[in-house]
């Protein structure tokens, strides 16, 4: 059977066919969708963890108990999980443990471009590197077998190119295997006491040696043109792994250039690589992000051709394939663009001719479109307030990083998950007492539970006076609204912070600008550690494409075109220019959050439901704080239904 799949779907399918019992993960681009795809299989139990370390530890429990488990994380997530990851190599597994790591060359949506293969080499954990989606599916399936056969976790390393691609994948059926489940033993294997550790390390090294020369590894080596068949040495040969293999295939075309694809990037099959190198005058190792394979090849005593242009920075481009040592290869790479010829396409279109050249100026340039908060995002008001105060904001990882963009410009640094609170403490440790009024730490709720609690406890323990804002939208919003932790109500937050013994704390409605402003000023002027939970809802959880509840509108007769509403950066507000005069309108992207209405000095922004023809009536009603009224009414289940029906029928 074959069907079109994305890379994430192919991996989930491979895991299912490989007999996986449990999938654990913390969401992160580009691999988040694997869990979504795995959830479609009823035999798999999928569990979001509060962070990658917990996901890895849950996976360890499953694998030690004899079950098969897939744990999924992005490359920086593997850093978070590094502690159990390194030690799992020592304990080994009973059931297969496969770690799918999504690397992000080009940093499309990450803090760095690190190569997870290097971390795996440091941990002595094997790495499979698929070239195509067919291999992503197949390698995931086989990884469980390798993991069990060699008593070690196995990494399947993919990149954004795999995950966000689609291709036809030939699939099979789910493996049925009766596994013996139970608590793991003996303690000499599963208890990492110093007395046992060296033996376990030795066992790991032995297992890796066996794997390096195994039939499994040999089977994963693919040589396109077998050098030994020709008798004479080839002038050069290519060794590659992963996605780059596809680019190499296109460059090589049908020419007689030997190409060796290594399905296992670590450990490489020594014998196969030596055989290949013996039949080539020069060997060029092509890979993305780092020289992980090239270093292994050179350790075998094989001289590799230079890649002066390659520095591992950014997504792989054709130029990264060049080698000054092999001019013939460079010529092939340069010819690549000319080589491709598209099949004939018949398109019977009546084309529009080019418009009059004289009436137009030179070629236009296309500016970038910076990402911004969604319409109705509960993060916007607090960044609006922080921006007005020109405070230095140490941020964290999440949607709220967009607070750095115009017009807020209210986020100035971040580092990694949960780092904001620790960094702020560092700043305050070296600056004068006044600094605490000029800087805050901002962290999302998902990030707070991921790794923000330890730095908060440190702050409480040290007695530092600082202001910390926890932006709670009840989900991991950046990655697509996953529930990685329980959602906490206002009262539960208060109890939690009281239990932590935070000296001062408050929970404030994220869309109530006045309340935010007052509380922020109070905490900034306090001499204690203050935690403000800014509680809102992520718009991704709302039916944005359905009927819009409580949409707002701008009364033209009341609007003075002051432009204050524009400072909310809401994409639903549109500015029109007519005869040099600006006017504003709210489009149907509005979800009725009411933020803009609170910034209008003329009260010209009102819910559509109270927009009457009579200016007098409307002006009187416009003074009512409707955002609070609507919020209050919507909190009453009986009223909510009636109001939503009213809204739906009216608009």
């Amino acid at each position: 059977m074959s069907s079109f799949m994305s890379g994430c779907e192919a991996i989930a399918r491979g895991a299912w066919e490989g007999g996986v019992d449990v999938v654990t993960s913390y969401p992160g681009s580009p691999v988040t969708d694997i869990v979504g795809a795995a959830k479609r299989f009823k035999e798999i139990r999928c569990q979001w963890a509060v962070n990658e370390k917990v996901a890895m530890e849950m996976a360890a429990g499953v694998a030690h108990g004899g079950g098969r488990v897939l744990t999924v994380m992005k490359h920086v997530g593997l850093n978070v999980a590094a502690d159990p990851f390194f030690n799992l190599a020592y304990t080994g597994v009973e059931g297969g443990l496969v770690v799918v790591v999504g690397d992000d060359p080009g940093a499309r949506s990450s803090q760095n471009e690190q190569d997870s293969r290097l971390l795996a080499i440091a941990a002595n954990i094997p790495v499979l590197e698929p070239a195509s989606l067919q291999e992503a599916y197949l390698f995931t399936k086989l990884a469980f077998e390798i993991s069990e056969a060699f008593d070690v976790p196995v990494i399947v390393r993919v990149t954004a190119q795999h995950c966000y691609s689609s291709d036809r994948v030939v699939t099979g059926t789910r493996q049925k295997k009766n596994r013996r489940l139970g608590f793991a033993g003996p303690i000499q294997k599963y208890l990492l006491l110093p007395d046992f550790v060296v033996n376990r390390h030795q066992q790991l090294v032995n297992n890796l040696k066996l794997l390096a020369s195994s039939d499994w590894n040999r089977w994963l080596v693919d040589v396109s043109e077998h050098p030994c068949d020709t008798g004479n040495k080839f002038p050069y040969g290519i060794i590659c792994s992963g996605y780059i293999y596809n680019m190499v295939c296109e460059v090589v075309g049908g020419l007689n250039v030997p190409v060796m694809k290594l399905g296992m990037a670590f450990p490489i099959h020594d014998e196969a690589v030596r055989e290949f190198a013996d039949c080539c005058e020069k060997v060029l190792v092509l890979e993305e992000s780092s020289r992980a394979i090239e270093q292994q090849v050179r350790q075998l005593g094989i001289n590799t051709a230079g890649r002066a242009h390659f520095d591992g920075v950014g997504e792989l481009q054709l130029n990264d394939l060049l080698s000054d040592d092999i001019p013939a290869w460079n010529q092939l790479v340069h010819n690549q663009n000319k080589k491709r010829s598209a099949p004939e396409l018949f398109i019977p279109v009546q084309y529009i001719e080019a418009v009059d050249e004289c009436s137009l100026t030179a070629q236009i340039s296309v500016p970038k479109r910076p990402a911004g908060f969604c319409a109705g995002c509960s993060h916007s008001p607090i960044f609006h307030q922080l921006g007005l105060r020109k405070i230095y904001v140490v941020g964290d990882i999440g949607c709220y990083t967009l607070g750095a963009t115009e017009p807020f410009s209210a986020l100035h640094a971040n580092l990694c998950m949960g780092a904001s609170i620790g960094i702020l403490q560092g700043y305050l440790a070296i600056m004068d007492a006044d600094a605490r009024k000029k800087a805050v730490a901002v962290i999302g709720d998902s990030t707070f539970f991921h790794s923000g609690i330890p730095p908060l406890l440190t702050a409480i323990n040290s007695g530092v006076a600082a202001t910390i804002l926890i932006l709670d939208n009840s989900r991991s919003a950046m990655t697509g609204y996953q529930d990685t932790y329980p959602s906490y109500s206002r009262d539960e937050w208060l109890k939690l912070l009281e239990g932590f013994r935070v000296p001062e704390f408050a929970v404030v409605d994220a869309l109530d600008v006045a309340a935010l402003s007052i509380q922020l000023d109070t905490f900034l002027n306090s001499e204690k550690l203050s935690v403000m939970v800014v509680k809102g809802d992520c718009v991704q959880g709302m039916p944005r494409k359905g009927p819009t509840n409580y949409r707002y509108t701008i009364r033209e007769d009341m609007c003075t075109s002051c432009g204050k509403c524009i400072e909310t950066d809401c994409p639903s507000i549109v500015k029109n220019l007519l005869d040099g005069k600006a006017s504003f309108e709210i489009t149907n992207e509005c979800i009725g959050c009411g933020f803009c209405s609170q910034t209008c000095p003329e009260n010209a922004i009102i819910p559509m439901s109270v927009n009457f023809e009579s200016p007098l009536v409307t002006k009187t009603l416009a003074k009512v704080p409707w955002h609070r009224v609507i919020k209050f009414l919507r909190s009453k289940p009986a009223m909510r239904g009636i109001l939503e029906r009213f809204e739906r029928e009216q608009y």
Partner: protein, 201 residues
């Protein structure tokens, strides 16, 4: 066949790409696609590359290689101008979303005529989708542009409306979406192209 699809987050580009791949899969032995994502869904540019044929190994497009460009938003047609070669068919929606330099567009958004002119100068053949008027006339939402583009592309590739209804029945259950599909399919007619030309001129 080498295709570049561009647009903005939230307009349905990912779904459009999947469906275009399905259609191409009916005609070509191998179809590969690759999408740019990340935080693009929050108002940013989104794009996808699709390649179909026999000896296709990667979905990556290089300079002067696009046979077809589908732009769900006008200016996004020029997001990768290097891809346009002489004869590239550019299906361009005239819907202009000015969020350049911020939600309310701090930077100047070029005139639609400038966009068409630039594509033409690069060698592209422009087919304009008069979506701004369609939105007004039929109360379509921004997101329906992906259905219109799918129907236009499908017709370019030689599929009938009946085939589209068979392949994607879910697109015809919602009245607005079905209307967008029908409108898009009819848009391809000679008369509509002439009308679009008149509007641009």
């Amino acid at each position: 066949m080498e295709m570049y699809i561009s647009g903005l987050g939230g307009l349905g580009l990912i779904n459009l790409t999947k469906k275009v791949c399905f259609l191409l899969g009916q005609k070509y032995p191998r179809v590969l696609s690759s999408e740019s994502r990340g935080i693009a869904q929050r108002r940013g540019s989104v794009s996808a590359c699709v390649r179909a044929g026999e000896n296709v190994f990667t979905p990556q497009l290089y300079a002067n290689q696009a046979d077809v460009i589908v732009a769900l938003e006008a200016l996004e047609a020029l997001r990768q101008p290097k891809l346009i070669k002489s004869g590239t068919v550019c299906i361009v929606s005239d819907m202009c979303v000015n969020n350049l330099g911020g939600a309310q567009g701090a930077l100047r958004y070029p005139d639609f005529k400038e966009i068409v002119y630039t594509i033409s100068r690069l060698g592209g053949k422009v087919l304009v989708i008069p979506y701004a008027a369609m939105m007004q006339k039929d109360a379509l939402l921004k997101v329906h542009i992906s259905s219109v583009c799918l129907a236009v592309t499908a017709r370019l590739l030689g599929f009938s409306l009946q085939e589209l209804q068979t392949f994607f029945p879910e697109l015809f259950t919602d009245a607005k979406n079905a209307l967008a599909m029908h409108q898009g399919y009819e848009l391809f007619s000679f008369e509509m192209a002439v009308e679009a030309e008149r509007q641009v001129a």
